[in-house]
């Protein structure tokens, strides 16, 4: 890896050959064309994987990506369906873990494989006991070796303590010790740290480094990506059973890993519709849940509301407490504190059965273990939860049962040859539909689903979620748990991030905007905050209230999304803009929000930033080229100007002489507005334009130019200005000349002073540019882009303007209707309902 010229060039988003392997280093173990098929699921699809001695190869991938399957094959636990292993260049086949172990491959399992009733030392030597000369077990020596191993792992565990008395982390250490003691040449660690404390992880890493020095090849799997990257020499990413990419760890970062892991997702277009939700159906009020098995507090102080028609995603890693929470809501598990309300009624003290009857159903995580009765048919599984209700007196009415079953099979689209075949003959996706259909047959108000898409293929996943969206449209409240970000982003109305039993934050999946909380805990923030960093905001004129609003909005929204900001203004001077852009690139901004200085002049700077890997989002104005900036969000200047011109002409009685104040000529908006004015006004022969001056958007210049125009054309009765500032300058000039009464002024932008002037009758009308809304959109699209690689919107976006006249001027404040900087700031800290409601208002605007 240190040899020159071998570095694989990797940049986030860069497309690289999926099978590319960084050259260099000897290969000790190679999996070739590894394919594993379980029933109808292809868990591995022809993966080529290489392991190098003295290096840590980290396997990244989401649940079901095939990591564990690959490891199981390499450790001899399962045979591949196709493909083979090459150990030291020789094709090998392992019939058992024992055979793999004999060839020097050991595995630390994700699930602890220890006998809880035996002591630490017994477990360490299980199956390879040390013997004395008399052939009985040499307990003394076993204990001594165990003690040495524990010392090496810096863990204070007495060798004769039964495993059951050790805490989970210590058990994991014993598992590690067991693998270490095998003195393997290749050591596979599948989630070795899931229960370890930070100190224990450090020790483990130190041990791994020792192993590397001894030329041991380590394969490491972890959901804690940052941690895994820290120890990695090679990063290998699996997705949907395929090897997506291999890279030297030093060349990649978290963003790369997450991007490769999640990949470009199929867009099911399911979250697009803005919905109005009904009343809260499920309310959790400061709920604490204790895990019955070990007495641990699994969920603490959890408050949440799910409303009719709403799909809320509970996102979190393994051990975050998702399952415990859902089971507690469903009626299994112990709620030690707080209240769970179903449609307003506290369900405390009621059984699972009662809650199902009241309309609360759970589709459990492990459908084999908890969801289905394998010995029963598809039909009987479907009707299981509602069979009591289907019975009249004592007997089940077969007719109505079959009818209900058939209806459900077609409703949830279960692909089966009939209701009377064994449930095990269905594919995973269809089995899951049975598990869901079973609960839907009870006619629930609230449906809880734990990992509804685990272990099913992509197509079935889409079907299952579209089913949930259908049901939600009919008023079902849905709360589901997942550990896959793509699922969370695509299939929910709201994402609740759960970490260590608490809510770490809430997000709107459409925009990525954080609704509440600070998702600040280890495992979580890299997914939601990996985009975080500094956003460079480059605006035009900071002293102008219009751009002030733009800057304020950008800064506030970015802060609410968790970014740092820098703000600057180019004063419409392209050279200044170029310098500011270079500074932003040099400072390593994660994105640039730019109000471009000139449609042509700004192309180069945008191109340069994009080439440097920094996405640029344009607000307020556009550039004359597409495909470079990620978004170009402008107000619909033509539409706004036409609105203003029409209102002004009406006030003029469609007759009279007027002059025009023109904006900055390099600004495309100036021409756009002027053209739109002309288009409306040229239709009216009674109106005559007698003069036009350029005032560069500026109030002082507007006043000066107006004074000149007034002396040149004393008979004018109207002024149209390209923006409010120039209009306000004109008004000042007219006031000074005592001519304000006889001259009608039109502005554009809707800044606060202009709105006040309209309110006072000094200005006929102005046009509100949705600068606040547009800037918010830009920031939200930026955030979504940084999270998912997509903005979720077309590049060119034009937002309609609103006419402000004396009739509605009182409703406007600071460039917007109601939604203000304070509103945005408040949304990030307040109750979710308010934030969502605020969003809806914003849309109504």
């Amino acid at each position: 890896m240190s040899s020159a010229g071998t570095a694989v060039e990797v940049a986030p988003g860069a497309v690289s050959d999926a099978t590319a392997t960084p050259p260099g280093d000897r290969i000790v173990l190679r999996a070739v064309d590894m394919t594993k098929i379980y029933g109808v699921t292809e868990a591995l699809k022809g993966v080529n994987f290489e392991v190098r001695p003295g290096k840590v190869t980290v396997l990244f991938g989401e649940n079901g990506a095939g990591k564990s399957t690959l490891m199981k094959i390499m450790a001899g636990i399962e045979p591949p369906t196709r493909g083979y292993l090459e150990l030291d260049g020789e094709v090998v086949e392992f019939g058992s873990t024992k055979e793999a172990e004999e060839r020097g491959i050991a595995i630390i399992h994700q699930e602890l494989n220890l006998c809880p009733n035996l002591s630490a030392s017994d477990n360490l030597f299980l199956g390879r006991e040390l013997r004395t000369r008399r052939r009985d077990i040499d307990y003394a020596r076993q204990r001594e070796v165990t003690r040495q191993m524990m010392a090496r792992l810096e863990e204070d565990i007495d060798p004769s303590t039964p495993i059951a008395q050790l805490r989970l982390g210590q058990q994991q250490i014993v598992e590690v010790a067991r693998a270490l003691h095998a003195e393997a040449r290749i050591l596979i660690m599948d989630e070795p740290t899931s229960a370890l404390s930070a100190t224990e992880v450090e020790v483990l890493f130190r041990v791994i480094r020792d192993l590397k020095a001894q030329d041991v090849a380590v394969i490491y799997i972890s959901h804690h990506l940052e941690e895994a990257l820290e120890i990695a020499d090679y990063a290998v990413v699996l997705r949907d059973g395929e090897l997506v990419d291999t890279a030297l760890a030093e060349n990649v970062d978290l963003a790369w890993v997450v991007e490769k892991m999640t990949g470009r997702s199929e867009d099911y277009g399911l979250t697009d519709a803005k919905r109005r939700f009904g009343e809260p159906l499920l309310t959790l009020d400061h709920v604490d849940v204790v895990d019955v098995d070990n007495g641990r507090v699994a969920v603490s102080d959890f408050s949440l509301q799910v409303r009719a028609g709403e799909i809320v995603c509970l996102y979190g890693l393994m051990g975050a407490g998702r399952t415990e929470l859902l089971e507690a809501i469903a009626g299994r598990g112990v709620v030690t504190h707080g209240h769970i309300r179903l449609a307003g009624e506290d369900v405390a003290g009621t059984s699972i059965r009662d809650r199902i009857a009241q309309g609360l159903g759970l589709v459990p995580e492990d459908r084999q273990r908890d969801g289905l009765v394998r010995l029963m048919t598809v039909g009987k599984n479907l009707s299981l939860a509602s069979i009591g209700a289907l019975a009249r007196r004592w007997l089940i009415s077969r007719g109505s049962e079959n009818e209900q079953i058939q209806k459900q099979i077609s409703d949830v689209r279960i692909k089966t040859v009939g209701a009377n075949i064994s449930i095990t003959s269905l594919s995973g996706g269809n089995q899951q539909k049975v598990a869901i259909g079973k609960m839907l047959m009870t006619d629930p108000k609230v449906l809880l689903l734990d990992e509804p898409a685990r272990g099913i293929d992509v197509g079935a996943k889409g079907e299952i979620f579209s089913l949930l969206f259908e049901q939600a449209e009919r008023g079902l409240a849905v709360l589901y748990a997942t550990s896959e970000l793509n699922e969370a982003l695509q299939f929910s109305h709201r994402i609740v991030v759960m970490s260590k039993g608490r809510i770490a934050g809430q997000f709107d999946p459409m925009t990525g905007i954080q609704l509440t909380g600070a998702a600040g805990e280890d495992g979580v923030n890299y997914l939601f905050q990996r985009g975080r960093g500094t956003v460079a905001i480059i605006s035009a004129h900071p002293s102008n209230p219009y751009w002030q609003a733009e800057i304020d909005t950008a800064r506030a929204t970015a802060t609410a999304l968790g970014y740092e900001t820098t703000t600057d203004a180019h004063e419409n001077v392209p050279e200044v803009q170029k310098r500011l852009m270079d500074e932003a690139i040099g400072a390593g901004a994660v994105a640039i929000i730019l109000d471009p200085a000139g449609a042509d002049e700004s192309i180069e700077v945008v191109r340069k930033a994009t080439a440097a890997g920094i996405p640029v989002f344009l607000v307020n104005a556009e550039i004359s080229e597409q495909g470079i900036a990620k978004s170009q969000i402008v107000s619909n200047n033509a539409q706004g100007a036409a609105l203003g011109a029409q209102a002004w002409a009406d006030a003029m009685g469609a007759a009279g002489k007027y002059v025009e104040l023109f904006g900055n000529p390099t600004d495309r908006n100036a021409q756009l507005r002027s053209d739109a004015y002309a288009e409306v006004l040229s239709q009216l022969p009674g109106l005559t334009k007698v003069g036009q001056e350029t005032a560069n958007w500026d109030r002082a210049q507007g006043k000066d130019k107006m004074e000149s125009l007034l002396s040149a054309h004393p008979d004018i009765t109207g002024v149209i200005a390209g923006n409010d500032e120039m209009a306000l300058g004109a008004i000042q000039a007219l006031k000074d000349a005592g001519r304000l009464d006889g001259v009608l002024v039109l502005g554009f932008d809707g800044n606060q002073e202009a709105v006040n002037a309209v309110h006072k009758g000094e200005m006929v009308a102005t046009v509100l540019q949705p600068i606040v809304e547009g800037t918010q959109h830009a920031l939200q699209q930026m955030h979504r882009y940084l999270l998912t690689g997509e903005t979720g919107a077309p590049e060119k976006q034009s937002l309609d303007c609103t006419l402000i006249t004396g009739k509605n001027a009182h409703k406007f404040k600071n460039f917007s209707l109601r939604v203000t900087r304070e509103d945005i700031m408040a949304a990030s800290g307040e109750q979710v309902e308010d934030a969502v409601a605020g969003n809806e208002k914003g849309v109504e605007l």
Partner: protein, 369 residues
């Protein structure tokens, strides 16, 4: 049967799949084999009188087995049935012989129907205790009912003082006659136990197949966690199966006492083992969730005919035991083979690319709607 199952086996109707038939109808095949072998070996085997005697023997085991099936379906077992048989017989005998009313000089002779109901109630109550131990205290069924096996037998011995009640006739004068008349009655030449077996078989078949309780029972046995999360009242179901088992055993206790015209505290010993044998030969899984009344009946017939046939042919008692054991093991071994074949078939089906009506429609169509 279902249309799906019909289509599935439809292809094979023309040329009979002997392998499948042998495996799937193995209990029936075994029964047929036993009948053929013994009718060849002994010309008395198929005589109506012998047949009726054998059927009566079978019936007693079959009724206990039906109760046993209930407990095995939920994944448990009831080892106490033999003791309940003994206890209820003793309760009936004790009551029919009159008992001293406390605080008075009088001896009470309850009417026969009171005796019968009391005995059934005692059997059911013992079952209820079993059920509560299993469902509420979460004691393993094997342990709970093993304890009850001793305790109930002990009570039977205590009540009777270890003696046998030989007079179950009652007398018209005391208004308690008729016990033997009823329980030894023959309708259409068929003895009462066989009728009871038939009635129980029908009632329990309906219970298992047509009521929510039956469905819940299969679900609890198949996957208790899934059943619980589906709102099945698991504890209630578990409690009730032991009550039913106790009730069945109590019925047998009465029939047996009438048959012997005596109630002995030792009656019913080892009945639990015959019952388990019948249930298992009948295709039930000891892990629960699988088993039928029909299979259990066939299992009871296999064991009953086998034992009686061996006696008839004159095989030594010692060999009888060996042969009985071998048959039970063979039956279960065949069951395992059948399941392995079924699993393999399912795996083959799954590995084959889906076709015909099972073929998934293209995903896009579904997502779009």
């Amino acid at each position: 049967m279902s249309s799906a199952a019909d289509t599935e086996s439809g292809g094979r109707l023309g040329n009979i799949n002997w392998n499948a038939l042998l495996v799937e109808g193995r209990a029936l095949v075994a029964l047929a084999l036993i009948i053929i072998v013994f009718s060849v070996l002994s010309d008395k085997f198929l005589e109506p009188d012998n047949f009726i005697i054998m059927s009566r023997h079978v019936a007693v085991n079959a009724i206990v087995s039906i109760g046993m099936l209930m407990t095995i379906l939920h994944g448990g077992i009831d080892l106490s049935v033999g003791s309940i048989v003994g206890l209820t017989g003793i309760v009936a005998g004790y009551l029919l012989n009159g008992f001293d009313l406390p605080l008075s000089e009088m001896v009470a002779y309850p009417a026969v129907w009171v005796v019968v109901l009391s005995a059934l109630a005692v059997g059911s109550f013992v079952g209820l205790l079993n059920g509560l131990l299993v469902s509420r205290l979460h004691i393993a069924p094997f342990i709970a009912t093993l304890g009850m096996l001793y305790a109930a037998r002990g009570f039977a011995l205590l009540i009777s003082n270890g003696l046998t009640f030989t007079s179950l006739n009652g007398s018209a004068a005391l208004g308690n006659s008729g016990f033997l008349t009823v329980f030894r009655a023959r309708a259409l030449g068929i003895p009462a136990p066989v009728w009871v077996m038939i009635v129980f078989a029908i009632i329990f078949s309906v219970l298992l197949n047509r009521t929510p309780f039956g469905r819940w029972l299969y679900a609890v046995g198949g996957n208790e966690r899934a059943a619980e999360l589906s709102g099945v009242p698991v504890a209630r179901v578990k409690t009730w199966v032991y009550v039913l088992s106790g009730f069945c055993a109590a019925t047998v206790g009465l029939l047996l006492a009438a048959d012997l015209t005596a109630a002995t505290p030792r009656s019913g010993e080892l009945y639990e083992l015959n019952a388990i044998g019948a249930v298992v030969i009948g295709g039930a899984a000891l892990s629960g969730g699988r088993g039928t009344i029909r299979g259990t009946l066939i299992g009871a017939f296999v064991i009953g005919f086998l034992v009686d046939g061996l006696v008839l042919v004159g095989v030594s008692v010692f060999w009888q035991q060996v042969i009985k054991g071998v048959v039970i093991i063979l039956a279960v071994a065949l069951d395992q083979v059948q399941q392995m074949i079924a699993r393999k078939r399912a795996a083959d089906r799954a590995a084959r690319p889906p076709s015909g009506p099972a073929a998934p429609t293209p995903v896009k169509e579904v997502v779009g709607t």
